[in-house]
Symmetry: C2
């Protein structure tokens, strides 16, 4: 059994790196706050005797030798956050991994296969798109050079920031040089389902498809008082109309379709000037691949038709695109069985959020364990999970990993 108090103490300590007044954290990927968090966690890894490897995209993997050589059973997640992040999103999976290692060490247990604890760079995608960038490079589907050249919302590049904060490591990337036997990620649900149903543990079946598009609109700035409506080429009108349309689209497609405009900037952004510039993102998600494609098609058609009617130009760029993912059935069943054996209520459910596990699933069996999020709230400084739930999740992680790594 893991030590819940020690886990919580580490979560709180990490939460002080990039802490916001009023609670929560802002530890956007590769900022100074992220470096402080990385230094802290890497220090803990070394204290626990893990062999620490930093790769060329800044992923950090701490490994504990097994009684046999070979590919490790890996636990992990991320420690970057959004601008209004909580203490648990990502951090839980990493620090619970350390807790598993410390628990085994204290009990004098060495597993057959090596164990690894990893945190991946820029999982959130809040500063640099796509999300899950570090795991994508680790696995190999995103070329390192493309990732390093990515420019963030503040104009900085991934490569430049990695150098700046001292996390441009030497270890090579790609599945071929990074064999992993199995990957298990503990995470807060970030949604309302477990809490609403009073269930302690989620056995995650898969992750819904994710589509991020950035639109850049060029209209004509003109005077807000003198320009008749019919003569306007208003970039902001297109943006506002898409915000409205996204909501209607989600309601119309129904099911688990969601649609979000989270980012928007206008230019020149002055009260009495018709905007000549708008840049905004649309985040579409669905567990069904076909419906997600339909949502994209309808969005693009809406934008193209309205742009023509308004006389504005629109550029479109895919920031991230992930098909729905199903985790290996034996991993889902294992989590479910172990949770029940430990006496916890458990249910299967899909993940609404993207996770590094969905990328690792391309190179090894991968699974996820969810614990409830109070009020279904995440990406919010009030993100909260009860200490008992954190502990339950970490114990399920411990026993899942023990089973996978063997004694």
């Amino acid at each position: 059994r893991i030590d819940g108090a020690r886990l919580l103490a580490r979560l709180r300590e990490l939460g002080r790196r990039g802490a916001l007044e009023g609670g929560g954290v802002c530890r956007l990927a590769l900022t100074d706050a992220d470096r402080e968090g990385r230094d802290l966690v890497t220090g803990w890894m070394r204290e626990l005797g893990l062999e620490v490897r930093i790769d060329a995209i800044g992923n950090v993997v701490g490994t504990r030798a097994g009684t046999e050589a070979g590919a490790p059973v890996m636990m992990g997640s991320h420690i970057d956050t959004v601008r209004t992040g909580g203490l648990y999103d990502g951090n839980l999976g990493v620090l619970a991994g350390l807790e598993v290692v410390e628990t085994l060490a204290a009990a004098g247990i060495r597993t057959r296969r090596p164990l690894a604890v990893a945190f991946f760079t820029n999982e959130e995608g809040a500063r640099f798109a796509p999300d899950m960038m570090g795991s994508l490079v680790f696995q190999g589907d995103l070329p390192l050079e493309a990732a390093l050249a990515t420019r963030g919302i503040d104009g900085a590049t991934v490569g430049g920031e990695l150098e700046r904060i001292g996390y441009a490591g030497a270890a090579p990337v790609g599945a071929a040089v990074n064999p992993v036997h199995a990957y298990v990620e503990l995470h807060v649900e970030q949604g309302p389902v477990l809490e609403l149903e009073g269930v302690a543990i989620g056995a995650v079946e898969g992750v819904q498809g994710i589509s991020w598009t950035e639109f850049t609109v060029t209209g004509t700035s003109n005077h807000a008082g003198t320009t008749p409506t019919r003569l306007r080429h208003d970039a902001g009108f297109l943006a506002g109309s898409v915000i409205r349309f996204a909501r209607e689209l989600a309601l119309e497609l129904g099911g688990d379709q969601v649609a979000t405009v989270g980012f928007l900037e206008l230019g020149p952004n002055l009260v009495n000037v018709i905007p000549n510039h708008a840049r905004f993102t649309v985040d579409l998600r669905n567990t069904d691949a076909e419906t997600l494609r339909e949502a994209e098609a309808r969005l693009f058609t809406f934008v193209d038709e309205l742009a023509a009617a308004e006389g504005v130009r629109v550029g479109r760029r895919t920031l991230a695109r992930f098909e729905p993912v199903a985790f290996a059935p034996e991993m889902v069943a294992r989590v479910e069985r172990i949770a029940a054996a430990l006496g916890h209520s458990v249910r299967r459910l899909p993940s609404g959020a993207g996770h590094d596990a969905q990328i690792l699933a391309r190179m090894c069996p991968a699974g996820m364990i969810f614990v409830p999020s109070a009020g279904g709230i995440s990406h919010n400084i009030r993100e909260h999970t009860e200490p008992g739930d954190l502990e339950a999740g970490a114990n399920v992680l411990l026993h899942t990993v023990l089973e996978l790594a063997g004694l």
Copy 2:
């Protein structure tokens, strides 16, 4: 007759202060660029022998003595611009005033009443609201203290910026200490009417009503992937819906009703976070006072009802509010008559933009002369008026002022 080439040379020289790459100017009120523009124009005033007075809100008035003492006939406008401004908006009225003075001086003509050329602080309202701030303080309806305490879009205050750029003058403000016999403002139309009808001069009948409201919305940030639509409290959804509604409102009320969302910011403004914050402005205008009030009422009702449905809080702040203004009939008739006498085509029209003349109209007979704007484009770096039209407007100004000031 004024010297059109000299007028154009001054317009171009002033346009180099705050010049943008690609043309146009950004000379937001009380910035360093505005200071450079002020220094240039104040220098020209002194070269022309005007007595320069700077008042406590930074308005600059250059006066040429008449053969009799008494209140001057004032020409003027503003030299601040929006972020994507042209060479003419405001600047024309000020530099044509200097041109009138230089023409009279060259001809050895001294008027009976004194002549004054003024430029008023922060007419645009782009950095600090309300617009027409300097003339409002000069005339007296806006208390100096309130104006000085106004915080701009970048957080700076009017008072602090006036001190910083060295234009917090000593001259007192208020109509009582600033008697003006009559005020005449030459300005580019900034709208499409004169050009479309092939008319050279507009005799401005009045200015439509202006209503600027800033809304601040507080929602709940949450995860874009995991939060079902019905559980969202999306501040950005309210903002986008208002952008859409503003357009519908303008079309429905018809006539000359316009509605513009020019400014919008979201927070935390990240692709995968439902916005918990939105701040945006709505600019409503109508020549009819009653319809403008109806537009406001319908906008406020829409916002209140949608906020309740979405579960977000909304704060509302009036940034500027001006009733429609009618200029003194004898001034409109005078401009019309003089333009025709000089051989120019002329028509009466209302102004869609706010102007310092509408504030001066509260303390003396005030009138305006419009010249065409190519394509009806303004608040845009492509703002343009043909040199011949600039010259025609300045000649109408010269003769209007001569008639008002007497010989």
